[in-house]
Symmetry: C2
Subunit: 457 residues, 2 copies
């Protein structure tokens, strides 16, 4: 006990000095991020000049070239590409859809779900059956589902404060809905868009067919469209009027394409072999320009390196920004990165992912042992004045998850989630939806955490 | 000590039970707020059907009638109006402005500042002198300012995490710039718009002339315009080319008009004489439709009462929603309310104001004695899971400030501030900028705080 007191007294002024120094450095990081327009301009180029950048497209490769060039301009110790083969799914011609009740035809906004097979020009037309859960579907006699279009109308639950929680709960109907419905003889799938907004934009996103199984064409319908279709189905129970749906999609899975992860790093001065990674994903869905998903995460990762260089912060460990390819419909970039890390015997201490939009930061979720989490939580008071309130146990991100077996502390950056699903995977995910200050506060928050992790972990 | 332990043991299960009950009620408040569209629809009507509602205009009175009608529909114990005479400033015809350098004429976006006198059709044309502070202006020889247009180019400081802090620091040049410049013989005033955005929208806001002094016409210029004007002024130091500015404004202060505060209340069951107030302001500037400033605060205040009624929460004290008139350019509603409260010998325990936009809630600032603040801070753990992170000492709001001498605990609702000044007092403060979930989380947060204050204060 006495020893502890003496040690405390001994180190107290030094610690106070260190803390003051930390506060100054973090203040410098924030001042720079909040006044520089560099990362916002990078995002503007990614969004408005390059635009949507689905894996395998020329635009995705333009994003590789552009971000590599920008990283090259920062005077880093190393900038390089990692080759990765990616799927190349294309939407093709714009989808058409109609709800048909007797002679009444209503045009509906739909979009093919990512990786889906197409109906082609002949389309698919059938009666619709609304489903609220896989459990419910399993109880319906198979002949009632045979030849039908299955309509998964599972709304995201508005009552969850975190919209990601609601997304997690409803998301399986998009991902697995087609694979399930085919088992009952359905001929097509309509999925209610995964959004908390009530509007007329369909939201895409990837689906997974069971291996070896026949594939069913699948579309997302807007939330307004889903409500209307559901209302008409309820009415038909009374009127007996048949509700049919027609849709045609022209999407196609082309052969895999060679693409790249983009990597830039500042070598550590004391432990260069230990890596702290911060990353986002370069590819985006094709409907919008991917400004929030995940242009924001890409430029924030690059901005962390810019902030370190510009403010002459020399890390002990190697700080690496990784811009992953193909998060949306394959995760090939994330898997390849982890595979190579293992092969090259690289030691990743921490990996941080920003893939939840460029909104005001709220905190970080940590996927690690409790003692590590408790240690990192102690940094929070240094970040509180900047609005980083919640550092807690939680999930991380898709692209860094493959590193988990390599005993890496995985951290997910958590900006405010309220607006994310207004734009997610749809045509309104565009540059004008990003606020320069919210984006910058995210970059500064991540950079500050990286600074503290590098120094104290 | 022993007594304390016994008391703790004695009350512990009861307290745990009470806390669980509180948690359930707060959960009900949030569930209702997040799934009801009522307050969003009220705001839609205020914004899109009524539109901008500057004090003294017919639209402002339509807002009085509409909100009273909505409060009437809630089955409250009392809904009433308070008469208040308000100023009636109108913008008149759209402003025109040009920067003139030799033969080069550049059209500039400006707007008259609220309460400003007009130039009329003849306009004002003069050389421009850029000013960075009142202190700097005081050091300039008077003859250099005489006959000039003074251009206050004091940007909001992006480095402040709270944009309200930056607004507080730069705001005096808008409010007092004209009153100061006239002392030096200036003929007009241009103020850099108070916004963190770099765009081409001028932001209005009220100005104060010194009583008895001659009044100087004053306009706001967009931030892009301000940067251009400043650049040209710098160039002119080298080239010697004179930079002139011309603007014409047609605004007018008409005679005062009879208007109203709108009030609705639920009577307290045990202490009906003690009032907990929650309020926002009905009037808005004329350029946008006042969705964030302060349609959001209006519907959130009404929503608090709706949430109490709908969920059968019976308060001990009287809960009152007050929709103030004329916050923007006179504060007559707030002053009248406090005056009548004193006259009627009403006891206000707490007043909460929502006038910082309908964005994601971050916390509450409290203007009260430290012991009161410490007590209220203890509620925070009950609100943490809903993102209410900061309950702390701070300012409150303009409309409730006149209650301060009556020994009232004043509380300002603090949503995230990053986007507020993108829209504040300009044509982009429109309904589409409000996210339904962010608005609802604010209502629920305020209602939950009111519930806890009523029960535990």
């Amino acid at each position: 006990m006495l020893k502890k007191i003496i040690l405390t007294l001994l180190f107290c002024p030094i610690f106070a000095f260190a803390q003051q120094k930390d506060e100054e450095i973090i203040r410098k990081i924030y001042d720079d991020a909040l006044t520089s327009r560099a990362s916002y301009q990078w995002l503007e180029y990614l969004s408005n000049t390059i635009g949507s950048r689905l894996s395998g497209t020329p635009a995705a490769e333009k994003a590789v070239i552009f971000t590599k060039k920008m990283l090259d301009s920062l005077g880093l110790d190393r900038v390089f590409l990692q080759e990765v083969m990616v799927p190349h799914w294309v939407r093709g011609k714009k989808e058409n859809a109609k709800m048909l009740i007797g002679k009444e035809k209503t045009v509906m906004n739909v979009c093919a779900l990512g990786n889906s097979v197409a109906t082609g020009a002949k389309g698919v037309r059938a009666e619709v059956i609304e489903i609220q859960s896989f459990e419910e579907m399993a109880l319906i006699p198979k002949e009632k589902l045979n030849g039908k279009i299955v309509f998964y109308n599972v709304a995201m639950d508005d009552k969850h404060v975190s919209t990601f929680t609601a997304y997690g709960l409803s998301g399986k109907y998009r991902r697995k809905g087609a694979a399930e419905a085919i088992k009952y003889g359905a001929v097509g799938v309509i999925v209610r868009s995964l959004t908390t907004a009530l509007d007329d934009y369909p939201h895409t996103g990837s689906i997974l067919y069971d291996e070896g199984s026949k594939a069913l064409p699948a579309v997302a319908i807007s939330t307004i469209g889903a409500n209307l279709l559901s209302k008409k189905l309820k009415e038909s129970e009374k009127t007996g009027k048949k509700v049919e749906f027609y849709f045609e999609t022209f999407c196609e899975m082309l052969p895999d394409v060679l693409s790249h992860n983009v990597i830039g790093e500042i070598k550590g001065s004391e432990k260069p072999e230990e890596i702290i990674l911060v990353g986002g994903h370069l590819d985006s869905w094709d409907l919008g320009d991917g400004s929030h998903d995940d242009g924001a995460g890409v430029v924030q990762s690059m901005e962390v390196l810019r902030l370190f260089k510009k403010n002459n912060i020399k890390p002990k460990r190697t700080i690496r920004a990784v811009l992953f390819m193909n998060e949306e419909n394959g995760l090939r970039g994330g898997n390849k990165y982890a595979e190579l890390a293992k092969k090259l015997n690289e030691k990743h201490l921490v990996a941080i992912e920003s893939d939840a939009g460029g909104f005001t930061p709220r905190g970080f979720d940590i996927d690690a042992d409790d003692d590590k989490i408790e240690k990192i939580k102690k940094y929070q008071p240094l970040l509180a004045q900047y609005g980083i309130e919640q550092i807690k146990k939680g999930g991380s991100g898709a692209d860094i998850a493959p590193l988990k077996p390599q005993n890496v502390i995985l951290i997910g950056f958590r900006p405010d989630s309220q607006r994310y699903f207004d734009y997610h995977h749809t045509s309104t995910d565009t540059f004008d939806k990003v606020n320069i200050r919210e984006l910058a506060l995210g970059s500064a928050g991540i950079a500050s955490l990286v600074f503290l992790l590098d120094k104290y972990l």
